[in-house]
Amino acid sequence: MTQFIELLLNGISLGFVYAVLALGFVVIFKSSRVINFAHGSIILLGAYSIAKLSDPLGFIPAVLAGVVISAIAAALIYWVILRHVRGRAADTVTIATIGVDIVLATELARQIGQDVLNLGDPWGSDVVRFGDFSIPEARVAAAVVALVLVGSFLAAFKYSSWGVAMRAAAEDGEAAALMGIRLRRVVTGAWLIAGALAAVGAIFLVTFPTPGVDRASGLAALSAFPAAILGGLDSVVGAVVGGLIIGVVVVMASGYQDEISFLGRGLGQVAPYIVLVLVLLVRPAGLFGTKELTRV
């Protein structure tokens, strides 16, 4: 029982990290109808920048710089490349982000090489104890930061003028433009926010218990994909719920791997996808996604 609750708490805190990353997918999808496959390498870029800058600048300034770098990188990807993509199929822009991801991920892998970079974060491998349970400090920080971020994002989405513009644009881009909403600015804002969220999520993806930033860290971000899809790509609440589900599933599948060894080793990595396929079987648009209807 102790183990179960400990795993559950760990899962939830990891889930919040996924939620932050999944929010990035959702914001971009809502504003530009694109699945951003380059999100993984933006996450890696954030982690890499923070790791490189934390030595000369200190941790907090490095985080700020990393957030700015990732946000600008994401916005640049949209401005310089994706805006100009043409093509018949609706998924063309999504495919273009795969191309961007290949280039960016390759360059980052080249920079990182075989190193494992340390973020220089203040938590180290310390552990917080609640009675019988222990949770890494970094994970507690992750949950707190993520809660604050998700909360303020939801509030901004609901009350700020950007949030209103964003929701209007997602509802009906043309009508929103006619009402004087500058679509391009709204969309650019969405990419900036997604990039910033990616950098913050990246911090907690590579701090303890993970060893640090290496060239494969971007792959860990792939688990945020199922989180975003599971909840429904156009649902902010869905991203949070999806993140939590995936977080708990990943931690449980790794924690109980001895008990479920008949399913094979390394189940933690595939478990998100198994859950994803099962959920999509029942609800093709995710848990909270709007069902696509066609009006004739």
């Binding site: 043409r86 018949r88 199929a89 609706a90 595939v270 396929v277 093709p284």
Partner: protein, 362 residues
């Protein structure tokens, strides 16, 4: 006639060169060419699904794995010690046909899920299939040999083995070893795959799939059974992937799970995008380009100024340079030539309308 002649000339010369290639190419280049053929076959299948029918799929590597492992299981048998993976020991031709059929069956089984999902959801769910497939390949050791992989039985037809030296064969002073023999098998398979693909896309099914891509409602109104056609497209594309997998297994001689990861799926997607979505010829060109690029760069890394030999540090490693090149090629094609290099090849035909008819979503 005078206009058609040059257009036929290029393919004719290429075909002639392909037919006599084993007489002047070394085994390394033949192997590279065979990988390109396997890639081209797989890419044709994916371009039918993604380009013609508009179903984005990243599961192609999974179906290629089903074909490759299917063949090895059906044709293989026994094996000693560490290689003791089970098999049925069938003759290789039925094994090949059955392996392709099994890949098709896997596609057909997946198509009800695929049919429910739209566009982007399908793309991500299909990534899931690749990861789940990898998990199975690594863990079902009795069937797949796990991490170490398993051997592929050499293909043989009517007593003629497409492996080294059985029977010994020397033509015009060129010893015909495994690569020389497989070369013609690969060419034949590619030719069948190409012709079938062309007929399919040009004919009634191709029209129906294109209509589904552009508007499912319009397709349904015109009497196209949308669900059935989508399922058929998925099945056929999986069979292509399966055939590509079998050829890969034959050329490698031994298959490991790593060869069938997400990277392979992404490379297949790169091939059809670079070649031009929906173009069969483009898929072949894209397949050749994407699969040969790393090998060519690797071979000439010593003589190209900005490249470094693998593992030597400094400069860009050839494998990375190839990834840069095809990542950038995807983006460049989508921005500057949405029809792909297949369309550039055709010359200055006006590009089809670039904006899809908007489906209004409620």
């Amino acid at each position: 006639m005078s206009e058609r002649l040059p257009r036929l000339l290029v393919p004719a010369v290429l075909l002639a060169l392909a037919l006599i290639a084993p007489f002047f190419l070394e085994a390394f280049w033949l192997q590279t060419g065979l990988f390109a053929m396997a890639a081209a076959i797989g890419a044709i299948g994916l371009t039918i699904l993604t380009g013609t029918a508009g179903q984005l799929s990243l599961a192609h590597a999974f179906f290629a794995a089903v074909g490759a492992y299917g063949y090895c299981y059906l044709a293989g048998g026994g094996g000693l010690g560490v290689n003791a993976a089970s098999g049925l020991g069938l003759p290789t031709l039925p094994a090949l046909v059955l392996a392709v059929a099994i890949a098709g069956l896997a596609g057909a089984l997946y198509s009800p899920i695929a049919g429910r999902l739209r566009g982007i959801y399908l793309g991500i769910a299909s990534i899931g299939l690749v990861f789940i497939g990898q998990h199975i390949l690594f863990n079902a050791t009795g069937l797949t040999g796990g991490f170490n992989g398993r051997d592929a039985a050499p293909f043989s037809l009517l007593g003629f083995t497409f492996g080294a030296g059985d029977p010994e064969l020397v033509i015009f002073g060129v010893p015909f070893e495994d690569m020389e023999r497989l070369w013609y098998l690969g060419l034949a398979l590619l030719a069948i795959a190409y012709l079938f693909g062309r007929l399919l896309v040009a004919g009634r099914p191709g029209r129906a799939l294109e209509t589904i891509r552009d508007s499912e409602v319009a397709a349904a109104v015109n009497g196209v059974d949308v669900t059935r056609y989508k399922a058929a497209a998925f099945t056929i594309s999986s069979m292509y992937a399966g055939l590509a997998g079998v050829l890969l297994a034959l050329v490698f001689g031994r298959i490991v799970p790593e060869s069938f990861g997400l990277n392979l799926s992404v490379e297949f997607l790169a091939m059809i995008v670079i070649g031009g979505l929906g173009s069969i010829r483009g898929a072949v060109l894209g397949g050749v380009f994407v699969s040969m690029l790393p090998k060519v760069l690797d071979e000439y890394s010593g003589s190209l100024p900005f490249l470094a030999a693998a593992g030597s540090g400094g400069g860009i490693e050839p494998g990375m340079a190839a990834r840069f090149a095809f990542g950038a090629a995807i983006v460049a094609v989508l921005i500057f030539a949405p029809g792909g290099i297949g369309a550039l090849w055709r010359g200055s035909r006006p590009a089809p309308s670039t904006s899809p008819p908007k489906e209004s979503a409620a």
